[in-house]
């Protein structure tokens, strides 16, 4: 049987259509994906992300262990800061993409739910002596409040001035009477917050956010909208856009690789890659027509297969079909491409990511 988050009962009561994802019974949608997607773009949406894994690294060597595990440079982040990073294996393949929080004397690494067991084993076998690795996933719930009205909504429930938290920073505060890690992060391309709380208070926090959000027509949002939002925002999905067979340069995450920081797992392999000419070219595609290009669909230049779609969806913000693809590095920028969508060729134009950028000042 699939695992349940502390908010399972809330999803059922709200009439969510449930789906099994990474071993959890999760809401796919409550109303329609379009409605939830547009709520986040225009107002505010609430997500249960309690399936995500959280791993605490503590001890005198914790920082050195984090530095060994990730390709980014956590030394650039002070206490209360967060950083997006990939963990690589010795061959430079991506074990997982994570967010690392630096707390006063420990770190919290947020991992993909589907990778939780693998990541834990990986971390435990690669940390330095003097680092404790603790899986706190089951006792940690995560609620994301995303959209232009998200900050004001949380501020109504808290004394914290959430608007003063810089992007990729967090602080601990009471929200609706519950102690939360309030983090200015997200996976939607909108401004917003992610609230980490103890699992037992998650339902009360959910209820408080829903009640306070009714004035701004807050929508609970499922994994369906989460995927369409993240793809418009050009954000990667592990297992689809990348996996152990893909190095960070080949999926457009070279900006997270800090080779100059010193040694880390995979550094040797990554140093041998020319960042300007990695094994694959990761690109956005604007797809003609309304049909959706899906993971694995072939991308052609003329009659030659030059790559494959990694993710695709219908963009409700742009009202068009969009995709990301992993292509041969020899494909010229701007080359006319087509995607084989179930036997029909759809023209595709290479574009830079993201597809959607939130308006300035919003």
């Amino acid at each position: 049987m699939a695992a349940r988050t502390p908010l399972y009962g809330r999803h059922i009561a709200a009439g969510a259509r449930m789906v099994e994802f990474a071993g959890f019974d999760m809401p796919l949608q409550y109303s329609t994906i379009r409605d939830e997607h547009l709520a986040v773009r225009n107002r505010v949406g609430l997500f249960d992300l309690s399936h995500m894994g959280e791993v605490r690294l503590a001890g005198p060597t914790a920082e050195a262990s984090v530095q060994r595990l990730i390709a980014n440079d956590i030394a650039r982040v002070g206490a209360g800061g967060a950083q997006y990073a990939v963990m690589c294996d010795d061959a430079g393949g991506i074990v997982d993409d994570v967010v690392v929080y630096r707390d006063e004397d420990s770190f919290m690494v947020v991992v993909n739910a589907a990778c939780r067991d693998k990541d834990l084993a990986w971390m435990r076998s690669h940390v330095a002596t003097g680092t404790d690795v603790e899986d706190v996933s089951d006792s940690t719930a995560l609620l994301a409040v995303q959209g232009p009205d998200a900050i004001a909504l949380v501020e109504r429930l808290s004394t914290v001035q959430a608007s003063t938290i810089p992007s990729f920073h967090c602080l601990f505060a009471d929200v609706a009477g519950m102690t939360a890690r309030v983090s200015r992060t997200g996976y939607t391309g909108e401004d917003g917050l992610e609230l980490y709380v103890r699992d037992d208070v998650a339902p009360a926090l959910w209820d408080a956010l829903v009640a306070a959000g009714s004035a701004v027509q807050l929508r609970p949002c499922g994994l369906g909208a989460r995927d369409t939002l993240r793809l418009e925002a050009g954000l990667r999905l592990y297992g689809q856009d990348m996996d152990e067979g893909v190095d960070p340069f080949s999926c457009g995450l070279g900006w997270t690789v800090k080779l100059q920081k010193g040694d880390f797992i995979g550094a040797g392999a990554l140093r041998r890659i020319d960042p300007t000419h990695p094994p694959h070219r990761f690109t956005g595609l604007r797809v003609a027509g309304r049909a959706i290009a899906r993971h694995g669909h072939s991308v052609r230049s003329g009659d030659t297969v030059v790559g494959a779609v990694t993710s695709g969806t219908y963009s409700f913000t742009l009202d068009r079909s969009i995709a990301t693809a992993s292509l041969s590095p020899d494909v010229a920028a701007g080359a006319p491409l087509s995607i084989d969508i179930r036997g029909t060729a759809a023209e595709a134009e290479m574009v830079s990511l993201p597809f959607y950028r939130r308006p300035k000042g919003a």
């Binding site: 049909a291 959706i292 219908y314």
Partner: protein
């Protein structure tokens, strides 16, 4: 729920409403709910000849794509042009404004087509 007593259904979740030799065709409420947000409906040209059971188009949602099969044969007399811009009509009104094609010269309903009660057994709803 609309009155579906005049509708017949396929096990592949299309419906047909026969009116003499005229047949209107769409997909069921169960099918639209399974698909979720419909974003694209590919329909045949007016004038196309359809055989009963043959593929007449396809439907795509954010979640999945699937083919559409004709419950009855005949000649396509009309396609629902509104679906080109508003494919979500299939979600909001599958038995009404979300209809897909109208066929002329349709034969009588095949005994393989299901009535409402028999279709309900297929979906278990």
């Amino acid at each position: 729920m609309p009155d579906l007593s005049a509708y017949r259904f396929t096990a592949s979740h299309e419906w047909v409403r026969l009116d003499g030799g005229d047949a209107r065709i769409g997909i069921t409420d169960f099918a639209q709910a399974q698909l979720g947000d419909v974003i694209f409906v590919e329909l045949p040209e007016v004038g196309a000849a359809l055989d009963a059971g043959a593929k007449f188009g396809s439907i795509e949602s954010v979640k999945a794509a699937s083919d559409l099969y004709a419950p009855v044969g005949g000649t396509v007399a009309e396609v629902n042009a509104a679906l080109a811009d508003k494919p979500e009509l299939v979600n909001s009104d599958p038995y009404g404004d979300g209809w897909m094609i109208r066929v002329e010269g349709a034969g009588p309903a095949s005994p393989e087509l299901l009535d409402e009660a028999a279709y309900a057994k297929v979906t278990g709803v």
